[in-house]
């Protein structure tokens, strides 16, 4: 584990930088006034919500290696999202409506909450699958077709998230 002062910098620093960056993007222009006001407000928000912030071990993305992995994963996911949309479009436009709705269960393999969120949301975004519920045993996923259900057997999302969790 890294020394406590460094993790404190991350604990307060990263939310501050995110809030401040968000402020700067939304502000009409960068001037002394917006920068000063934004900095002050971001600092206040971080101080006031200091009990709500993520610890480093709760939030894997605070580590640079994991963040870069995540960016790579988002790249793959974007391609899958486009495929998902085309697949669903084909099914919806097909006059025969070839669907076979079914629930499937993917056994729980994650401990970290953030990784669960990433897995659930990524599944919802990929072809014909929708995360319905999460319990202790696993994810309940609704699949639109047999192929979509089969694809969950060995999906790249699962492989990636499990690898991510193991590299803690």
């Amino acid at each position: 584990m890294s020394d406590p002062s460094e993790s404190k910098v991350k604990y307060y620093g990263i939310p501050f930088v995110l809030l401040f960056g968000f402020w700067l993007i939304l502000s009409p222009g960068i001037s002394a006034q917006t920068v000063f006001l934004g900095g002050a407000v971001s600092l206040l928000v971080v101080i006031y919500s200091k009990d709500l912030l993520f610890h480093e071990d709760e939030m894997p993305l605070y580590r640079l290696k994991h963040f870069l992995n995540m960016m790579h994963f988002i790249g793959i996911l974007l391609v899958e999202i486009v495929k998902a949309n085309i697949d669903v479009a084909k099914i919806v436009l097909n006059p025969a409506l070839p669907i076979k709705p079914q629930f499937i269960r993917v056994p729980m393999m994650l401990k970290n909450d953030m990784n669960k969120v990433i897995f659930g949301n990524s599944v919802t975004l990929t072809p014909g699958t929708l995360t319905v519920d999460i319990d202790e045993d696993g994810f309940i996923i609704h699949a639109l077709t047999d192929e979509a259900a089969e694809a969950m057997k060995d999906s790249f999302i699962e492989t990636w998230v499990v690898r991510q969790e193991e590299s803690e």
Binding site: V92, L93, F103, R105, V106, L130, G138
Partner: protein, 104 residues
Amino acid sequence: MIQNGLIVILLVGGIFFFLVGTMGLLRLPDAFTRMHATTKCDTLGAGLVLVALIVHQGFHMISLKLLVILVFIWITNPTAAHIIAKAAYHSQEKPSEVKVMGKE
């Protein structure tokens, strides 16, 4: 010229996916299958329209703001779908057999 062509292609694509999403909402039988159509087609529909606007603006502060909108849509859309699906799942009888999929 090329820029305009690209914008038209992206906009038409975005509108196409919105159309498909709406048709899916009307044609598919129950809540879960309808969620499939609406979430998928809204993400890419709204995504393509926003990318078209980014291309129209070029490299500009407004493009950055549009990108932020896009990122938030793509985070909130599956989350909202999940909540709706969860509510539907808990308000009906549990399916008797649930196939287990996943790595052994």
